[in-house]
Structures are given as C-alpha cells and as structure tokens.
C-alpha cells in the first residue's frame, strides 16, 4: 500500500487547487531514494529468475541441455520448452479472444532473435545468471525475414480498417498542377525506460500477488487471471511507482508469466528483472515504418489531394498496426484523400506502443511533405500550413471541439521570431555552422474511458483518494490531490493519494493520454459526493452545530465548515467529525454510463480498451494540437546536427497543473529530438538481431543535446473533451518534432532527409 503524504509546502497556497503549479508530491521520495518501486519490495524467501533468450531469429528449439545449469550452485529450477507450464490464452487488450491454443511463455518455435526460451531460478541473482549462461540450446534453424528491406519481406497484409478515402484522390492528384511524391521512413525505436521491466510473483493458494511496474493494473491483472485460470479478484497487482513506461508497461509479457509459473512450481516468491539488453526483445517498441505520400496542389500551394500508402513491420506472432494515416487524414483541409496500409510480418518481437503510436510517424510523413510542397511552390512553410488550415475535421466532417492550432502557430512564430527567417535553403550561416529554421505541427486525439475513484474524509480532517490508476512520473498523485483539495475545500497537504494497487477502485489504462482527464473527472465526482454527504451531516446530524441554522447549504474552505456568509458557527472538519462521532465520510463513484454499470461491462471497461470512445464520438472531433519551431545548426563539414533553439506552442485544453504539463511536454519534445537525430534499432540482417541493445549504443538524447525548450500553452478549457476541460497532454508533444527538425535541416543544408534518424553520414 502506498501513501503519498505531502509534508512539505509546495509553492504558493493557491497551487493546491487545480490549475496551480504544485510540484510533484512524489518528487521528494523519488530523489531521496525513499520511493520503493515495485521490484524493490523486500519479500521473505525471495528467489531469483533469469531468462535465456534465443540467438537465432527463426526455427525450432530441438533440445535444451540444462544439466550443467541444474547442477550449478543455488539452482532451484530450470524452465525450458520441455517443462514450461502451458497457460490459458488471455483476452487481448482490445477485448478480443487471444490466440488459439495454450499460451507458452517459453515456446519451442522461435520467431525472433532474443525470444525468451528458457529460464533459471536460483537462490541468488548471481547464481541464476551464472547458471543461465550454462544452458545449451540446439536449434533447427529456418530462413528469417530481418526487416522491411528484406527481399523476402514482400508486400505484407492489407489492414482494411486503416483504409480511408474521400473524394477521388487518384484523379485529383493526376490533374493537380503541382505534384510531389516521396517516401518517408522511420526505424525501429525503443521505449528504453530507465526502470527495466521486472516482476515479483508470489502465490498463496490460488491467489497471486504481483509487484510489477504497470501502466494498467486492471488490464494486466486480467491477463494473469486468465493465464492461470483463477478469478480476477485473486490477482493482486502492486505498482506504486513506474520508472518510465512510454507505452511499454501496459501489457502482461512472457517474462511475467515465467516468473508467476516459477513461483507456483517452487512455492516461493520469484523475482525476475530483464537485463538491459533483454529489454530490446522482451517487448516491442515502435515498429519500423515506410510511407509513400503523394501531394497534389495548386500553384499557390492549396492542397487538392493526398494519396498515402504505408507499411509497418509486425512480428510473425501478431498484427501490430502503427496507424500512418492518423495525422495525414485530419491535419489539412484537403478534399481528396486516400490512405491504405499494410503490415509486413517478419522475425521481430511484436511491436508495441511507443509515445504517440501512429501519430508520430504519420506526422513525420505529412509534415515533411507539406514542407517540401512549400518549397516547391515557393511559399513560407508556415504560410502553407495556414493556407490549408482545416476549419473542421476533414475526415469525420464534424466540427472540432477546440482547435487552437492557429493560435499555436501565431504564438510559436512570435516567440521564435519566425518572421526574420531567410527563405532560401543554405542562406543562414555562422562560420562553419549552417543554420536552419523549421516548423511542423502535431496532434493527438482525446481518448476517453470511464474511471472510478474513492474519496474519503477522515476523522482528523484529512482526506484520502484511492484508485488503481498509476503514476509513471506524469503527476497523477499530484493532480488528484489537487482535484480533491479543491472540491473538498481542504488544503492539498491534507490529502493523501493512494494509487497503483489492484485492491483499490478500478481504473483503465494509463495510455492514450487519457488518464489525467478521466481520473480528475472521477475524483471530482467522488469528492463532490463526499462533500455533499459531509454537508448533509452538518445540516442534519442531531449533534451538528449547524442544526438550528436556517440555511440549506454550507461551505467548506481551508478545512473549515461554515455558513455561506461565514457567520458563526464555523467548525473545522476534524472537530465536526468528533462532535458527530463519525470515523469517516466516503464516496465511491464511477463515471460509467448508467447502462454500462453491470458487472461484465464494468469489468470490460477497466480490463480492456473496449469502452474507450473514439475522438469523434459525440458530434465533435476532439484533439490536442501543437506547433514546433526549431533552429538547427549543422556543421558544414561534419554533418552534425544540433538543435540550438526550440519553441513549441501547444493546445492541450485546460492544464490541471501547468508545471507538470509543461514538464511532460518538454519530456516529449526531448524524446522527439532523440528520435529525429539519434534513435535507431540497428538490425544485423544476417541474424535479424538488434545489435545496439544497450544504452551506450542505442542513443537517446543527453542533456547536452537539448537546448532550453520554450513551451507555450495556447489551450482553453474544452468541456466537450473532458469534464474538467483538459485534452491530451503526454503524447502530443513528441508529434511533429522530428519533421520540424528535418525541415530545419533542409533549410540549413538544402538536403532533405526522409529517413530517420538524421545522422551525420546522411549529410556529408
């Protein structure tokens, strides 16, 4: 059980309410080492598991020689395809049935290089590691497909639901006075959270307790329950802090199953943490993508048609779709549009979600292409975006709820000084540095799933908020405390927030940038109910000092209950609770629709993504928007690109805590800079293996790569988007960063780089 108890005063008293710039309540515990992450929990009798991964990409495990490992000191159990307990297939995140047949956490059939195929459990981690190195695997190797460029990759499988069409895009393209067509590519990218994936699993009878970093406690708990065929209620998952997820910690994974199987077989708690190199294949990041974009336009730069064809890689085991048309379809007012997408199965781990899946590579394509068109017709890259501004959702043909993109362009351009830009490529230079300015837009949809929260007012006048939702650094603890404090009328330092435990009220996935909106909504509702109950008691309880006041309501402010005109009597919540002899006043509320409150709908709401509403449901198209303005300096001789200045203006609607939202925006922009210039999973075609599987060789941006990042909020409360007016925050800022940088690099050098990352060798 995790309590966040803010002892320190954070900034100004007004910061305690929604909209205040309260610092993260979990911050002091994290920077002092006081925050106990999931796999740091000390469990009596804990033993340690280490997995062995395949060293071929395709084939069959014909034998596993585990004799030496079994004889190695401290070894308790060796798991292989020969003895792995088959589990039941679990429902997918989408709510559809899982693959046929049992789920084998250590399969005999190898479908990618780096697949878990054996595991060793020993008394100590060192013993398990040493023994794992002694496992000898024999394979019958088969031909593999290493990547999109493999001649054996083929054209893949069309994904019909990705097909979009309006007008007659091919015809309009053919007739357009100006046409450009190019291919844009993004490589395999990884989440590389600093906290690696790991788990502690412990059984008591048919009950399973799991300490595991999780972006989705209820969804992951359901997978374990189904795998082991035990009631959902028997799975307890605890995940108080998450050291970065970026989409990779929302689903139960094979290594988790291995730990739970080992714990069951041994009757001991088992800890399994994948090593850094193993994280590159223990789960999938963003798949490599390739898209062809053809733009047709008037000579003035007005778009007439967009024709898109995209592909992304997936695994041999499952279809992962990275929707490449998501931004293309809605960013510009283009009457004719067609998009289709294939996925190409190859020998890789099944790709997963990585910050703005779909929108991110989609924006790299369209925001690069529109820039190319701007140069083609000879107008300013910002002007062409305004010229083609979509006043309504061009795909759904419904109004935007709010679209402050024009304001974002204006505010960003002003702060950046865009009007001083010299239009021609290679026209700005300082010594050896070619200077380029680029702009690109981004967007991310507002996703909505109902939530649930408990708010409890205690006898000492403090309050608790409880939810199985999670905080992975984005600030859930903090903004939920702010929400409750504001509604209850008590100081924020008297609110404790409990998260990250499946024993608490339910929550859907912390993904799709939906959690802040749905959880502030649920807490708001529950806090109002608790407050109403408290006021009801104050009005009606026989011992209440307000009983004979001629009033039908009361106010609560700063923890004191009083009449609306603040006349006497007034009484603190703690004193009032003592006077009426009550231990607690609490309210559990959900935001499920009335017709979806039955047990099965509730279960599916929180354990699958079935109930997540599309951004166009309800008559408005709901999206966050942003505009990035970038200055790069490219060394004329070396081709090295440095981002020297950046201004981003973002519309995420109302910000519940601007300090935390700005921090998330900056984090996303930093990831975007890394994506643009550095990040790439490098695959050796001969082995279909990622060979830069460590943080020394898989390059993410360092502090030295990041200039001061100016972020400007241009949002206004959007009550179509959420109860309290917020829109998507976390995934928005990465969208558009890479094309803004690529566009700036073109402006600096005259070279258009259409495949990320933009490394120096591409510019020499």
């Amino acid at each position: 059980m995790t309590f966040i108890n803010p002892k320190a005063k954070h900034g100004d008293a007004s910061d305690g309410n929604l909209g205040g710039r309260l610092s993260r309540l979990d911050g002091p515990a994290k920077i002092t080492g006081g925050a106990t992450y999931a796999v740091e929990h000390q469990i009596e009798g804990l033993v340690h598991a280490v997995t062995v991964q395949s060293t071929i990409a395709a084939g069959i495990v014909t034998s596993v020689d585990a004799k030496a490992a079994e004889a190695s000191p401290g070894v308790l159990l060796v798991l292989t395809p020969d003895n792995i307990m088959p589990l039941k297939s679990a429902t997918t995140w989408a709510g559809t049935p899982g693959p046929e047949g049992p789920f084998l956490a250590l399969p005999r059939i190898v479908s990618f290089n780096g697949q878990h195929i054996a595991a060793v459990v020993a008394e100590t981690l060192e013993q398990a590691t040493a023994a794992a190195a002694l496992i000898r695997v024999t394979y019958e190797e088969k031909e593999h497909v290493y990547g999109l460029d493999d001649p054996r990759a083929g054209d893949g499988v069309p994904i019909e639901r990705m097909t979009m069409s309006r007008g007659d895009a091919e015809k309009a393209l053919a007739e357009a006075p100006v046409r450009i067509e190019q291919e844009y590519r993004t490589p395999r990218e990884y989440n590389v959270a600093i906290e690696p994936h790991g788990i502690i699993a412990q059984w008591e009878g048919d009950s399973l307790t799991l300490w595991e970093p999780s972006q989705w406690i209820d969804g992951m708990a359901r997978s374990y329950a189904e795998w082991f065929d035990i009631p959902f209620e028997n799975v307890r998952m605890i995940s108080p802090y998450i050291g970065g997820g970026f989409g990779s910690k929302a689903l139960s994974l094979p290594h988790g199953a291995v730990a739970a199987i080992a714990a069951r077989m041994l009757g001991k708690p088992v800890k399994l943490v994948v090593t850094r190199p193993q994280t590159f294949t223990a789960y999938g990041g963003r798949p490599a993508t390739r898209q062809t974009l053809a733009l047709g336009a008037t000579r003035e730069g007005k778009l007439l048609s967009i024709v898109q064809h995209g592909v992304n890689e997936t695994s041999m085991l499952g279809v992962a779709v990275e929707p490449l048309g998501s931004v293309t379809a809605i960013m510009y007012a283009v009457p004719n549009f067609s998009s289709r997408q294939n996925v190409i199965p190859l020998n890789t781990v099944t790709p997963g979600a990585l910050r703005a899946p779909g929108e991110n590579p989609s924006a790299f394509g369209i925001e690069s292409a529109i820039d190319e068109l701007a140069y083609e017709v000879g107008i300013d890259p910002l002007q062409i975006r305004l010229l083609n501004y979509a006043e309504e959702d061009p795909e759904a043909k419904i109004p935007w709820s709010t679209r402050r993109l024009r304001e974002a362009f204006a505010a960003g351009a002003e702060a950046f000084g865009w009007s001083k830009r010299s239009p021609a490529p290679r026209s700005m230079r300082e010594g050896n540095q070619l200077i380029g300015w680029g702009v690109a837009a981004g967007t991310y949809p507002v996703r909505r799933t109902p939530g649930e929260a408990l708010v409890r007012i205690l006898a000492d006048g403090t309050a608790e908020v409880a939810s199985s939702s999670i905080d992975m650094g984005q600030g859930t603890y903090t903004i939920l405390a702010q929400t409750a404090a504001e509604v209850l009328g008590i100081p924020v330092d008297r609110v404790r927030v409990k998260l990250g435990d499946s024993a608490l009220p339910r929550a859907p996935v912390a993904g799709g940038s939906q959690l802040a909106n749905l959880m502030t909504g649920a807490v708001h509702k529950a806090a109002h109910a608790a407050r109403d109950e408290l006021i009801g008691l104050a009005l009606n309880h026989p011992s209440s000092p307000f009983l004979d006041q001629q009033t039908n309501t009361l106010t609560i402010a700063d923890g004191v209950i009083s009449t609306p005109r603040s006349e006497k009597p007034n009484i603190s919540i703690a004193d009032f609770m003592r006077v009426i002899g009550q231990e607690r006043v609490e309210a559990l509320r959900d935001t499920l629709p009335e017709d979806k409150k039955n047990t099965q709908d509730r279960y599916n709401n929180f354990t699958t993504m079935m109930a997540m509403k599309p951004p166009t449901e309800g008559g408005y198209s709901l999206h966050s928007w942003c505009a990035h303005f970038v200055e790069v300096r490219v060394d004329a001789d070396f081709g090295t690109v440095r981002v020297s200045r950046m201004v981003s203006a973002l519309d995420s609607g109302r910000l519940y805590n601007p300090k935390l939202a700005e921090s998330q925006w900056r984090g996303g922009i930093i990831m975007g800079i890394g994506q643009a210039l550095l990040e790439e999973g490098i695959v050796d075609p001969r082995y279909a293996r990622v060979i830069n599987n460590n943080l020394g060789d898989y390059l993410v941006a360092t502090n030295a790569d990041i200039p001061d990042l100016q972020v400007i909020s241009v949002g206004i409360p959007d009550h179509h988007a959420s109860v309290l007016g917020g829109k998507a925050v976390g995934e928005l800022p990465i969208v558009g960063v890479a094309p803004a940088i690529a566009n700036a690099v073109f402006h600096a050098t005259g070279k258009r780089i259409r495949d990320l990352p933009i490394t120096l060798d591409k510019l020499l």
Partner: protein, 327 residues
Amino acid sequence: MKNFTYLRAGSADEARTAAALAGSMILAGGTTLLDLAKCGVAEPETVVDITHLTGLDRIEVDRTRASIGSLARMSAVADHPAMLDAFPAVTQSLALAASAQIRNMATIGGNLLQRTRCPYFRDAAVFPACNKRSPGSGCTALGGVTRNHAVMGTSDACIATYPGDLAVALVAFDAVVHLGSREIPIDDFFLLPGNHPDREHAMERGEIITSVTIPLSAAARRSTYLKVRDRQSYEFAAASAAVGLELDADGRTVRDVRIALGGVATKPWRARAVEAALIGKVLEPELVRQASLLSMQGAADHGANHYKIDLAPRVITRAVLQLGGLA
C-alpha cells in the same frame, strides 16, 4: 558474471605477481572490467584490486614532461591546471570522453586498455566468432553492420575500432607508457590487429601500467582535441583528431605539427604523412585540406563506415585551421 577470486594487492610488485596468474585481471576504476564481465566478454578467474595502491595517482608537470600515474582518475587529469595549460588536447580528450560519472571512476591506465565497442565482440553468447575474443574463431563484423568499424589498420581478422580518446592525444604527442621495469613509446604500445587481434598492446602478462609520461612541446601547448559524433555527449567518436601546432616566428609557417586520429582505426592513428606535408609550409586552408586527405591513404571501408574516410580529413583540417587561427 562468473565467480572469481578477489585479491587485494599490497604493492605494485604483488599486483604484478598476481597479474601473472593465468586468468587474472587488474581492477582499477572498474568501468571497463565490470562492463565487460556483464556482457560475458571478461571472465576473470582472479580479480586483482589495485585501487588502493598509493603513489600511482600522481599528476606532475615539470619543465620537460608530464607524468601521470596510472591510477589517476580521468576527471583529475582533465581538470589539472598544469595539464590544462601544457596539454589542452589531452585534457579535452578526457573531458569529451564517457560521462561525468565514468570519468570520476575510470583511471588513466584502464582508459588506455579499454576495449572495442564492436557489437560482435561484446555479445559473446550470441556471436561466438570473434578473433579478438577467441583467436582463430573468425570475425562476425565482416559482412555485418559496420557503421562504427575501422577504415585504417584493419586486417582480414579484425576491423574493430579502438574506441578511446585519451590514447589518440597521447599518440600525437609521443607519450611513453611506463610499466615499472620498462617503458614503451605509446605508438608501439598499441598493436595492429594483423592475424592476432586478441593482442592489443605490447604488455606481457604480469606487467602493469604504472604511469604515462608526455614530453612538453610547443605543439602540445598549442593543441586541441576535436571529437565529431552524432550525440553531443557520451558517445564514442565517429572521427576525432588530436592536433598540436607550432608556428615559426612569422606566425604562418608550420614548424611542428602533430596529428593523430581516433574513431577510424584499429589503434590510435598517427597521421605522419599529413604532418610531413605541412611542416615547413605556410599554413593556408587549401594546403591543409589537401594534406589532410593523406591521412586516409590505404583506407579500406566496409560499406556503412565509408563516411569515415570522408569525415576524418575534414576533422583534421578543421582542427589544424582552428589552431592556426584560420577557422
């Protein structure tokens, strides 16, 4: 990581005796040894801890040379006032290497002995063929992903790049590696891979580095280390150059120039042909550009690393021109 015996050497001589044991390895800063042990490359039977030995971390600069104890930390040398004054290329090579955390732990001796970042070398469990790791087993890098592999000094047995920065600066300024009983000029200390890429340096078993000396020179005093890489920090060089320049009294004619390259060769690479082409000449950009191209004579690329052949001369050119006040 395999179990090993831990020995704490009481003196340098004890360390030498222990280091002579089969399967023993020296533990100094540990930043390379632990890393290699974790990836299964280093599997010592015995780890000989010398971290506490006294007198091996001194940094002294006198009228003729600098002497740096092998246990001096990278950060201590990088920040040493007399070193900053007399050997800017050396201190810059250290400051631009690794990360602050590593620089605070890693020692000068260990820095010289760091091993290649070739991914095929570093993943022993997956790529059994590596002549550097197990002689005669073959080279997986040939035919593989070679963006960071060497273009100079390669052989059919190995194309792995020497990754360090400090050694590049030391090679430029004719440093000497002291082993106690003998000393080796640094350019001879590092070996070409040839048919024995497992032999990376001229030390015999049972020898330890005690210090490195660098002769003072006008070129060293007017020197720079230019490191080019995609990431601004904490990345090995795509190409780097340690350059020192001494001009005649006219301020234009090259009296002495020292040039060594990093990130492009199997060992720290002295570019003597470039030096010869510049000495006695009046410094001007086109001359330097043309002379720098000589550094890549005999270069052999393996596809993805071809860019280094274009890049390295540009790095030399920039560094020379900067020192000459022409860039």
